[in-house]
Point group: C2
Chain length 228, copies 2
DNA sequence: TCCCTTACTGGCCGTTCGGTCAATAAGGGA
DNA sequence: TCCCTTATTGACCGAACGGCCAGTAAGGGA
């Protein structure tokens, strides 16, 4: 068969010979390239050849690192993107000193901040939404590692406020509350990804209204509002 | 060139000769087929041949009706799916008699109801999210015809309640409020599309918590809550 | 210094898919 | 009845893409 491989040295001078790296060094390069490519073109639109090219690597190598092919690579890229942000939020809750109202405010504020600051990675969140139903494994991952964790963090914040008496006690009886509290922040991020910074709803305004609404709704009922 | 076309009559008997329909009749058939295909496979995954097959039509005909090709067809399919629901909501607001609290409750309730009842069409909403940034025209459409309209409906509901004194007057000064009120319902739908009915957050519970939270947050401040 | 493991290469294959086009027939108007 | 407009067909094209694999070199251990 036609002798493959090895043109390698291009251009003016032996610019670089074949680069051999330890997997621990090569892997992040490939992952970063994959994040870029997937973020820009979506799952189906992304090309393995393009990922390889961004990583400065031959296409075949991708199948060396990700035997599962494209799907495998996609999952890995998504995984590494979401976890750190949830870790930060969990740390914030765990170590907080001070009024619980302030804690909740800070939690929501950093949530909005994280989504405003790194568009590239946030696009991956949008990608999860887009592709979840075609990747059972990805839906599992999201359900278990993202939504459940985020929910639990919010729930912990609410419970903490209830214990100090800052939030109304019967909030625990509303199983849907945590998701309702969570949703605007995520949706704000999604709108931003869809429409761009200019046409999307203003994240700052949403954040303020969001905090205000949540705190009002959680305030202990000094006078009973006719609840029905 | 090899004489194309015309095998047509298949199987046992002249099952059907070439069907010629008025565009006004053919168009909805194609649109319905496209909605199905796009909903099931996503934009990139959908095939023009598959759409044609679902519509009982040859692939070439699609390009007769949608000269812009796949993108054109996609936009048209999405268009016809979203408008009716917003119309219903607008009608609800316009014609409502009774307390504004009840009106808002009904608005939110029908919102959740619509999203629970027709999974197929709702998937298209998820598709808008997924594809908006690769279709400027689609993002325009969403921004103008969906988000803006929905926002306006919620805003009208809030204003109505403020006028009667049922809602606190200073809610109008919170530009982000409408989006925050809107977001949980949309997000609930998205979660449902992503994760399936079983793993997604319970829509009924979200609806109740959502209504309760919004009404609490909109209640006129009998006693001032320290707002900061 | 040698040698063996393995990171790495890139051409090739089969397939899929969007889009085109020349040919064809349906059916309404003259 | 004829004819002309146009709805309809399906074979065909070329490009893109995912995946494979036979072959190549880097570099650490013996």
């Amino acid at each position: 068969m036609g002798k493959p491989g090895q043109v390698a040295v291009v251009g003016a001078e032996g610019r670089q010979r074949r680069q051999r790296l330890a997997p621990a060094e090569r892997m992040p390069l490939i992952l970063a390239a994959a994040i870029e490519e997937f973020a820009e073109r979506g799952y189906a639109g992304a090309g393995m050849a393009a990922v390889a090219s961004r990583a400065g690597v031959a296409k075949g190598l991708l199948y060396h690192y990700f035997p599962g092919g494209k799907a495998d690579l996609f999952m890995a890229a998504v995984r590494g993107c979401v976890a750190p942000k949830l870790d930060e939020a969990a740390r914030l809750i765990a170590g907080f000193q001070g009024p619980r109202r302030e804690m909740l405010r800070r939690l929501i504020t950093t949530g909005y901040a994280r989504m405003a600051e790194n568009p590239r990675e946030q696009v991956l969140c949008k990608l999860i939404i887009a592709e979840a139903d075609r990747f059972p494994e990805l839906a599992d991952f999201y359900s278990r590692e993202v939504l459940a964790r985020a929910t639990e963090i919010v729930r912990a914040a609410l419970r903490a406020g209830i214990e100090t008496g800052e939030f109304r006690a019967d909030a625990v009886d509303q199983p849907g509350l945590v998701h309702v509290v969570l949703a605007p922040a995520i949706m704000g991020s999604v709108w931003r990804m869809m429409l761009g910074e200019d046409r999307a709803p203003d994240l700052g305004a949403m954040r303020e209204a969001h905090i205000d609404m949540v705190l009002r709704a959680l305030a202990p009922a000094a006078q009973n509002m006719k609840n029905n």
